[in-house]
Symmetry: C2
Subunit: 346 residues, 2 copies
Amino acid sequence: MREDMPTLETVAREAGVSRATVSRVINGVRNVDPVIQEQVRLAVERTGYVPNRAARSLVTRRAGTVALVVSGAGDDSPSEQNAFAARVFADPFFGRVVSGVVGALRPRAMHPVLMMAETTAAREQVVDYLRHRDADGALIVSTHAADPLPDMLAAEGLTAVLFARPARPAPLSYVDLAHHDGGRLAAERLLSRGCRRVATISGPLDVPAGQDRLAGFRDTMARHGQPYVPVAEGGFTLASGVAGMTRLLTEHPDLDGLFAANDLMAQGACQVLRERGRRVPQDVAVVGFDDSSAALACRPPLTTVRQPVEEMAAEMVRLLHEQVQDGTRDLTSRIFEPELVVRESA
Amino acid sequence: MREDMPTLETVAREAGVSRATVSRVINGVRNVDPVIQEQVRLAVERTGYVPNRAARSLVTRRAGTVALVVSGAGDDSPSEQNAFAARVFADPFFGRVVSGVVGALRPRAMHPVLMMAETTAAREQVVDYLRHRDADGALIVSTHAADPLPDMLAAEGLTAVLFARPARPAPLSYVDLAHHDGGRLAAERLLSRGCRRVATISGPLDVPAGQDRLAGFRDTMARHGQPYVPVAEGGFTLASGVAGMTRLLTEHPDLDGLFAANDLMAQGACQVLRERGRRVPQDVAVVGFDDSSAALACRPPLTTVRQPVEEMAAEMVRLLHEQVQDGTRDLTSRIFEPELVVRESA
DNA sequence: TTGAAAGCGCTAACAT
DNA sequence: ATGTTAGCGCTTTCAA
């Protein structure tokens, strides 16, 4: 690794101008003679100069990074710490978030620092990190209703944007999906197929996404003459889909339609259905939610309600960047509309 | 966000000592009077002081971050850029890498900056980032044989540790698995079950992991009187598992054992087998590789060759940290041993 | 053992 | 339009 990194001074000497001028050219500040600009640009080229982020951050008080935080609600038991990331990333959802975030950050010359905040200590660390302005703000993907992080951030007056409205209201910006509409789309699909005995595996009922998808589904079913919909509460995991489907099938062996509140659970449900000799969609039609890679991995491929996760993640970046740029902290939220994607399962 | 962040000076005044002393206490440098140490500690407490990372980095020339790079071999076509992260994280493997890395970084007070390097531009960005010492080093997870990033890093003399030996030798440290042994374990399992007509869906044959798992499998089969093993080359994706199994079943309808070079492909294979009316493991025994969450998601749960990804990732951090600390760049590699995990599929 | 002082490389007034 | 200069907050000689 070279030790003699060129500095602004190096370039300035090379170009025969002052440091300030070089700085102006590099930062694209106006009021620089085009000729000099070119000279500087050449000098940069020749010297192989690249700005020192630390020095720049020190004076601008901008880190040029954002914290990308995946937070849970765990305590400090060692078991929590271990496989949290593995568990979280087992859901294809997070890959899509990362994809959207990285894509949106790139043109803004910012970088995501990945932080897993599953334990009390880890959450403190996140808050500290932001308080010191080691990152300019935080993008938060919270995985539990009881997650204290949003409140902690709000209390500290830190800049953050959440993926999804927090279970307990907090004065923070967020992007979200019109989950209720999503539930409606699922119901309409099953209804239009003529399903008469429909059940659902919901998400966790302590988070808005779980509640609202269920409410939207139920409301629509009720409006179409099916006021009673058996519900198995799930946890957005494949295993909970398996468990939920098993229970529903035992209690309602004659059901002919299922709405699972995410694709992972729908996938688990399909496995159980097949094992029990039910054909999908002929015997039981299944609608998932998310349109994640699990929808394609599933047999048969899932008809599902698409959540535009990548765009939502990009919007988080846009909101955060705006707040960082303007120094404002006004709360915004942006709600995206879901869309039905028809494949084979319903 | 508070504007009046306390600095070293603040603490020094509060404690009635000099900045230098406070710095020493904070950095745990010896030769500080215990009494003064306590005074300083109290002052830090009272003022709520936290060191400014930028200022510290500027003088220490340490960033306190590492780049966690997931790289591919794409060019600059827009299609590449888009869903790379989503595609990559769809493999549960990467969640485990993240888990291991984050866990190992935490006690070292370092943070991972996530970088996706799928395009030429993105790779340049990674190199630049490291050249400027915006990160102290890089942890590289490369997903393609033709990935030019390892060579680029080596050429620049940058500090990096790879997950898995690169397809083309490069002077960089890495951690890896004894893939050949893994292939052997899979073969032994199928042999001990009495499988006589065995086939395999291999990984990509241009990467060591693909080659070596296959070689280990074949060698062992040959040694036990089965010199001919039909091979379908896969790409470590579920879809390629489906395709491979379909082909193998068409060409060898009587096969009774399968080794898939990762769990995702094994999962795809199991789907096909079930659709074709083959019971697993009664008709066809299946052994996967990795022991990822896909092994549990699969029906039936996969007997598989465990790759201790989290530990390997942690070891990457250890190696990198060592190099960063010592300023050395001596090449090391650490090879982990695989282990057979028996579940239901074989 | 502690303090004084010199920067690290950069940006942003302020002068010119 | 360009240069001069004063720090940003920290670590680290060097003296005391």
